[in-house]
Amino acid sequence: MAKIKQSKLFKKTLLIIIALFALISVVTCFFSGTILYKYLTDEYISKGTTIAQTISNTAVDIILNQDHSTVQATIDQFLEIDGVSYLYVIDANNEILSHTFSPYIPNRLINKIQIESTIIKKQKSTQVAIRRIDNTIDIEHPILLGKIGYVHVGMNLSIIIEQIKKEILKLIGIIFIIFLMSVYIAFILIKQISKPLIDLTSYSKLLANHDFEKPLGFQDKLASTIKNQNDEIGTLAGAFIKLELTLIDYIKNLKETTKINQKIQSELNIAHAIQMSMLPTASLPELKNNDYAFASFIKPAKEVGGDFYDYYFDKENEKFHFILGDVAGKGVPAALFMAITLTLIRTANKTESSPSKILNFANKLVCENNESTLFVTAYYGVLDIKTNKLTYVLAGHNPPYHITKNDVIPLALTDGMVLGIDETFKYSEKTIQLLDDSQVFIFTDGVTEAHNKNRKLYGEEKLESNLKKLASKLPKTLIDTIYNSVEKFAEGRSQFDDITMISLKKIDPLNKFRTIKFDLTNDKKEITKLQQKSELFFEKNRISNRQSMKYIIVLEEIVSNIILYGFTETTATPKISIKLSFKNKKIETWVTDNSHYFNPFKDFDIEDINVPLDEKNIGGLGIHLVKTIMDHYDYSYLNEKNIIYISKTI
C-alpha cells in the first residue's frame, strides 16, 4: 500500500487530477456565479420595478390629495418584502414626500442618486431608471410620467451575493466530493496497474545483479500473476522471464565451453613446452674458441608451430651443423610434422655428413611417412671450422643472406625440392668461404611476410636494408633487432606466421681484443702488470709504439698516483680495475678504485712548465702528462668508488 502511495505513477496521476479539478472548480464557480448573479439581479430589478410601479399607481391620487400619511403607510408595507432595502417618494420638485428611513433620508444617498451614480438601465416607455449604489440597486419609477414625482425603491444586493456565495459553496462541496471519489477510483486503478509494474521493477533490479547460475525464483511469482495478464505488462514480464532463462542457459554453456577451452589451452601449453624442448639450447664453446658466434630465435604464431631449427657441433670432424625448417601450414598438424622431420634429420646426420646426403636420406624417410602430404622447406648448412667454408643445401627454402662488411647478398639457390614430396630427389650443395666479420642469416618467411594493418608486408627490401645496418653486430643483437623491427612494423597485429631466425658470424679475431679488463692491487710492482697487459692490448689492436707508449705513460701516471696517494691502511681489499677499449680509432680507459675520495685532476695544479729549474715542483708532472696527452679526462665518485675516464683518438 505504501509502495503504491509512493509510486511515481500515482503521484503523477494525483497531481493531474488535482490540477484538473482546480480548473473545473474555478471555471464552474465563475460561470455559475455570473449567471446566478445576472439572473437574480434581473429578478430583483423586475421585483423592484413592480413594487415601484404599484406604488406609483397607487400614489397618484394620494399625492394629488396631499395625503402623505397614506403614502407613508403604503410604502411602509412594501418594506417588509424580502430584499427591499428602502423606499421613498419625491415630488416633481425633488421634495421628499415620504420615506422609510429613520429618522430621515441620508443626504449622501440622494446625492449619490442624483450626482454620482449612473443610470445602468433606462426603459424609454416607462421612463424607469435603474442605478447601482454600493450594494443597492435603486429603481426610479415616475409618477404620472414624472409630472407629480418619483418613487425610489432600493433593493439590497447583499442578499443576492449571500445567496450566490451559498450556492457556490454548495457547488464546491459537490465538486470536492466528486474529486475525492475520482482520487479513490484513480488509486484503485493505479494500484491494479502499478502492482505488477513494481514487481517487474524489482525483478529487473534483481536481474541486473544476477549471476545467472540458477533461477531467482522470482519468476514463479510473476508467472502466476503478471505473465498471464493479457496486456503489455504481461508481455513484458514474459519477455523478462524468457531473458533470464536464456541467460542461465547461455552462462551454463559458456562455463562448459570455457572449461573445455582451458583444458585445450593447457594441453597446448604443454605441447608448446615439449616442442620448444626439442630445439637445442646448448652453448657452443667450440665455436667461440674458433672465433665464431651463433644465435637462434623462434616464436610460433600459435602455441605450437611448424618452424624449427637445429644445430650441433661435430667435434670429431670439427664441423658445425646448423639447420632451419618450415613445415607448410600452422598449428598442431604442422607441429607434429615438424617433430617427425626434426627427428628424421637427426637420424640422418648420425650416418651421413654432407648436407646433400643428409637431406637425401631424411627426405626419403619423410616421404615414406607422409600420408597427409604435408611438406617442409629447409636449409641445411655445415661449417668446416678448419677451412671457414660453409657448405649448404636449400630445400625449397628462401635464400639466407650473406652479410659482409659492405653488402647483404642472398645465398645462391641449390635448386632443391621441398622435403616430403619426391622420395627419389637428389639434393646438390654449394659452398662459400666465410671471411672475417661476415655473417650468414637464415630465416623463415614469417619474418618477411609479417604484415601490418594495411596488409603491407615487411618484405625482403626492408629486411635487407636493416641487415645492412646491423652488419657489424653479433648474431644475437642482429636477430633481436630484426625481431623488434618486425614487431614494430606489425603495429600490434597478432603474429601471422611462425618466426624463426638463426645466424652465424665469423668474428675478426682482432675484435676479441677491442675491449680488455683486468684488476690490480695497490702494490707499486703492479705497474709492470699494467704495462704488459696494455702493451698486449695495443699490439693486438695494431696501434703504433709511439702512440701506445704515450698512452701507457698516462695509465702508469694514473695508477701510480692511486697506489701512492689513494689508499690508506684501512682499505680492506684494495682493488684497481682497468677497462681498455678501442673503437672507431678512439682509445678509452676507465680506471676504477675503491680508495677514499681522491681526485688527482683537482689535487694537483697544472704544472707550469715555464718556471725555472730551482723552483720546479715536480709533484704534478704525471698529472700534467695525463692532461696534455689525452683528448679527454674526467673524474667522478660513484658508489664509493673513484672513476677516472680518459680517452684519445689516434
Binding site: 707499486k524 704495462q531 707508449m549 704515450k550 701507457i552 702508469e556 729549474l613 708532472l621
Partner: protein, 111 residues
C-alpha cells in the same frame, strides 16, 4: 731496466736499456746519486735503448740536473728516440737539458 757504465776520460757514460718507470726509476736515482757522490760531475746518459719513460723517470733526470748545478757539473742526454723526446717536450724539459744525437757529438759538447 739495465744500467751499464763506461768512461771516456773524465766523462761517465750511463747506458740505459729498457723502461724507466715508477718501479725502476728509484734504482736509477740511487745509482746516479752514488755516482755524483763519488765526484763524477761530467755525465752522459745514453738513451738510444730507453724505450719508455714515465714522470718518475723524468724526475730522476731533473733531480740529477738539480744536484749537478751547485757542483758545476754537466749532463748531456745522447741518442734519445723521437718518442722519448716528445715526452720531454710535453713535460717542458727540453730547455733545461742538453741533447746530442750521437755519442761523439755528446762527448764533444763537454768543454
Amino acid at each position: 731496466m739495465e744500467i751499464s757504465y763506461s768512461k771516456q776520460e773524465d766523462i761517465l757514460i750511463i747506458n740505459l736499456n729498457g723502461s724507466l718507470d715508477t718501479v725502476t726509476s728509484n734504482l736509477l736515482q740511487k745509482k746516479i746519486g752514488k755516482i755524483i757522490d763519488a765526484g763524477n760531475l761530467k755525465l752522459i746518459i745514453y738513451c738510444a735503448h730507453l724505450n719508455y719513460i714515465s714522470s718518475s723517470g723524468l724526475r730522476v733526470f731533473l733531480m740529477t740536473l738539480k744536484r749537478l748545478k751547485p757542483l758545476h757539473g754537466q749532463l748531456v742526454l745522447v741518442g734519445m728516440t723521437e718518442s722519448i723526446k716528445e715526452i720531454f717536450n710535453i713535460s717542458g724539459f727540453n730547455p733545461l737539458f742538453k741533447f746530442s744525437l750521437d755519442l761523439q757529438s755528446g762527448l764533444n759538447s763537454f768543454n
